[in-house]
Symmetry: C2
Subunit: 128 residues, 2 copies
Amino acid sequence: MKEEKKENIEEFYNLNDLTQGLKRELAPGLNTRIFIGDNLMLSVVKIDPNCKGEVHSHAEEQWGVLLEGDGIREQDGVEFAVTAGDFWMTPGGIPHNFAAGPDGAKVLDIFSPPRAVYKAKGAGFSAD
Amino acid sequence: MKEEKKENIEEFYNLNDLTQGLKRELAPGLNTRIFIGDNLMLSVVKIDPNCKGEVHSHAEEQWGVLLEGDGIREQDGVEFAVTAGDFWMTPGGIPHNFAAGPDGAKVLDIFSPPRAVYKAKGAGFSAD
């Protein structure tokens, strides 16, 4: 068994390496990098200070992990104040949104099944 | 629209709240808390300093995110040194393991489909 540099392997990534992933602007000030598996899709979203998306929904189940910063998670019409370390489940079809606080935020979104529209270049949330 | 305390809502959790999730000892020094969705399962694994699991595999696709600490990720017989912020994909059926460094580690494992054996109380990796 040998130790190899992980940079050579497609299955290893870093949350902070901006060269990795399929880039997508979800909304002004919300930029993500998307990583695609067979059953799972990860989206590392950087949200600029005081920026927010648009309420949208889609059929795919989604979980979000707030890695850095804080903000307001809106889910099914209710707002939740969240801070780093909080995570949440968003069942398919539930309208949701995220608004970053004054320091911005980084959110790891996880989808299953992978969102087909996010496998190709594009912009926006592409809601159902 | 009103703001509610997220503590009242089952869909909101925190990575560091040890009261949440279904607890499971994977191996000595490897303890996890499991969160179950329809298509996704999250497992927040705390690995004590210098502890490691056993090489195992399962049919479900898995992604891992190293939230804290560092260690060695073994995947398909190859070892990769990983540090906080690294994440990786483990396709179904690939033998894998994790060994924490001297400061321990916290790993967010994500499975799809959810691992059926992890929905019930138990211990161990329950490899295929």
